[in-house]
Assembly symmetry: C2
Homo-oligomer: 373 residues x 2
C-alpha cells in the first residue's frame, strides 16, 4: 500500500474543479491546497505553530538546499526533517533538480546525473536519480519528487523531447532506488514543455510507473500565462482521476484559481513569502506595496477584510516603518498575512467547489483583486 | 501626583537589595527588573505577545531613532507609541542624548543643545532639552529620561565637571518643558563620571528637582567592571529610598546582580538581543556560541535547564543550521531565549530578595555561569 492516498470527494458542477483529501503518514490534507515553501528547513520568519494557526496543512522543503546545508546525513541523525524543524504535519520535498539546473554554468548534465558546484562554497557535487532518492529518504518527507529536468522556456522541440525522455529514464531509476515506500510516496513529473504531443508522450511514459501522485513540471518558467493555462488544458486530462495532481512553482491568486479550475490539487510557490520580505502584501484589493511613501500615515490594516494576526493588530503606517527600518518584524507580519491570504483563498475555493459555484467565486474575487498579467 | 510611584516592599537582609513595585499609567512593574530594548518601536524580531509571554513588564524605546524615523509627529498621529507598536504595558524612552553624543564628528554641543546630522540621510538636526521633552511627550512613554550628556570614559575631571553642571541646567529646562506630568514621569540622571566628589555634586543638584525617579548615567561606557561597581558603591546611597533607581545600559548577568545588590531597581541593555542575532546564547552554563561548528550535531536544547519556547522545541544543531543559513528564525529563537533568560534571572533575584538570600543565590548562579570579565 502506498504511503499517500488520494480520495476524491466531489467535482464542482460549475467548473470541474476537484475537492479531495490526501492521506499521508503525517495526517490528512484537504485539497486543493497551497503549500508554503520552507527552503532551508524553515518557512522564512515563521514558527511551525504560526504556520498551523494560519491553516498550513503541508509545507515544501528543498532537497538541494538541505543536501548542501546542513547535509541530509545530519538531518537524518537529528531524527529526520519533521523532528529537526519541529513540524509534525506533512512535508513534500522537491528533488533538487530544479535548483541544480538553475545553477547554469556551474552544472553539467549527463545521462548519469548532474555535476555541479555548490552555490555556498564552490565545492564539487554530483546528483543522480539515486542520490536524489537517498537524500529524500534521509530527510523522511511524506512526498518525494522524482529527479527530473525542468526544461527552460523557450526551448526547441528536439531539446524538450530528449530531455523528457531522459526524465522518464531517470524516473525508472528513482523508483528503483526509493527505499522507503511504506512511509514516503514518490511522485512523478510530467514534462514536455509547451508542446502538446510531447506532454502526451511524457504523460504516457510517466503514468506507466503507477505512482501515488503526479506533478505537472516545466510551467511557470517565464512563459505567458495564457500559454500555461493552454498546456494545463490538454495536460491535466491525461492524468489519472484517483491520484493527486500537483502544479509546481505556482502561487499567484489568478494562477491558483485557473489551476484549480483545470483540475489541479496542489500548488507551491515562494511568491507570498518572497514579496513579503520586500514589503509587498497580497490583499483582497490586490497588491499593496506597503513600503511606498503613501502608506506612511495610513493607520488602517494591511487588508481591511482580513482577520489574521497582522491585520488585527497593526497598521500600514507601522508596517511601513518596520520595512523602512529593516526590522525583522516587518517580514514576520507581512509573511503571516500573505500566507494567510493564500491559505484562506484556498479554503474559500474548497468551499466554492463544495457548493458548485467556483466560477462565480472566481468572478467575485477578481472583481476586487484584479488580474496580474 | 506623579505619573509613576515607587513602593518599597522590602530590603534583603543578606544583601541590602530592594524588592519593590513601580506603579505606572500602563500597569505595575515588579522590581528589580530588566527592560528589553525596542529601539525602533519594536524589540528586534519579537511580537508584543511573545515579550509578555516571557515576562517582559516594561520595554525601552529610543527617542533619537523614533525622532529620525518615522518621526514623533507621525507616532503621535498614530495614537502614541503604545498604540503604534501594539504594546499596552509601560514604556520608558531615553532622551536621545546618548545616541546623539555617540554620533562623534557628526555632532556639536552648545549650551543650547546639540546640532547633529542624521545617521540615515545626513540631514541637519538640533535637539535641546525642550526638543527632547517635546518628542517624548509626543511618543507618550510612561517614563521619560532627561536630556543629559553621558561623558565618555576616560574623561578628565574638568570636562566631567563642566558636563555634569550643564546636565543639571538642562534638567531644569527639561522639567520646565515637560507638558504631560500627569501621564508621563520625568527621571533625572546623575552623572559625574568616575569621580566620587563629582557624583556627589551631581546627585545633590539633580535631587533638588524632586523628580519621580533617578538614574545613574555614565556607567558601562568602557570602564573596568570593578570601577563601575565602586562608583555604584558610593553613588546609590546618595539616591532617595522612596524613588526608583535605574542603572542605564547594563545587562550582563554579573552586572545585573552586582547592581541589584547595590540597590538598583531597573536596568536596560541591547546585549541579550544583539548577541542573539550574532548566534550567541546566554545559558545557565554561561555563553554558548551556537554558531560554532562543535554544535552542528548537538541535538540537545540551547539551555538544558530552560523552559522557554526555544529550548522546549529546538536543538542546538537546528539553531546552528538556521544561524549559518541566515534564517530569521535563528534571531527569533535565540532572542526569545536570551530575553527569557534575563527576565527569569530577575524573577529569581526578586524571589531571593524576598527570602533574604540574594548573596547565596549569586554564589550559586555564578558557580555554574562563571563571571564575564
Amino acid at each position: 500500500m502506498s504511503a499517500v492516498r488520494y480520495e476524491l470527494i466531489k467535482t464542482c458542477k460549475q467548473s470541474g474543479a476537484r475537492l479531495g483529501r490526501l492521506h499521508t503518514p503525517h495526517g490528512v490534507i484537504e485539497t486543493p491546497i497551497f503549500m508554503p515553501v520552507g527552503t532551508q528547513a524553515t518557512v522564512k520568519s515563521m514558527t511551525p505553530e504560526e504556520l498551523k494557526e494560519i491553516g498550513s496543512q503541508i509545507i515544501l522543503s528543498n532537497t538541494y538546499h538541505l543536501y548542501m546545508r546542513p547535509g541530509h546525513d545530519l538531518v537524518k541523525e537529528a531524527g529526520g526533517l519533521h523532528k529537526f524543524m519541529n513540524w509534525d504535519k506533512p512535508i513534500l520535498t522537491d528533488s533538487g533538480g530544479f535548483q541544480v539546473f538553475s545553477l547554469g554554468p556551474l552544472r553539467k548534465i549527463t545521462e548519469e546525473g548532474v555535476n555541479f558546484r555548490s552555490h555556498i562554497d564552490g565545492s564539487k557535487h554530483f546528483i543522480s536519480p539515486e542520490k536524489a532518492m537517498e537524500i529524500q529518504n534521509a530527510l523522511g518527507s511524506d512526498i518525494m519528487m522524482a529527479f527530473d529536468e525542468c526544461a527552460p522556456y523557450p526551448a526547441d522541440r528536439d531539446y524538450v523531447k530528449k530531455s523528457l525522455e531522459r526524465t522518464t529514464r531517470w524516473l525508472h531509476r528513482c523508483k528503483e532506488a526509493h527505499k522507503n515506500t511504506e512511509n514516503q510516496a514518490l511522485f512523478g513529473i510530467i514534462q514536455g514543455g509547451m508542446y502538446k504531443d510531447l506532454r502526451e508522450q511524457s504523460a504516457k511514459e510517466i503514468l506507466e510507473l503507477d505512482l501515488p501522485g503526479y506533478a505537472v513540471g516545466g510551467l511557470s518558467v517565464g512563459e505567458p500565462k495564457d500559454l500555461m493555462y493552454e498546456v494545463l488544458d490538454y495536460t491535466v486530462p491525461l492524468m489519472p482521476e484517483n491520484k493527486p495532481r500537483y502544479l509546481m512553482g505556482v502561487g499567484s491568486p489568478d494562477d491558483l484559481l485557473e489551476g484549480v479550475i483545470r483540475g489541479i490539487d496542489m500548488f507551491d510557490c515562494v511568491l507570498p513569502t518572497r514579496i513579503a520580505r520586500n514589503g509587498t502584501a497580497m490583499t483582497s484589493e490586490g497588491k499593496v506595496v506597503v513600503r511606498n511613501a503613501k502608506y506612511a500615515r495610513d493607520f488602517s490594516p494591511l487588508d481591511p477584510e482580513c482577520d489574521c494576526y497582522c491585520c488585527k493588530n497593526y497598521t500600514r503606517g507601522y508596517i511601513r516603518h518596520l520595512v523602512k527600518a529593516n526590522e525583522i518584524l516587518a517580514s514576520r507580519l507581512i509573511t503571516t498575512h500573505n500566507l494567510h491570504f493564500l491559505l484562506k483563498l484556498m479554503e474559500q475555493v474548497r468551499e466554492a467547489i463544495r457548493e458548485d459555484r467556483l466560477l462565480d467565486f472566481k468572478d467575485e474575487f477578481f472583481k476586487k483583486y484584479g488580474y496580474e498579467l
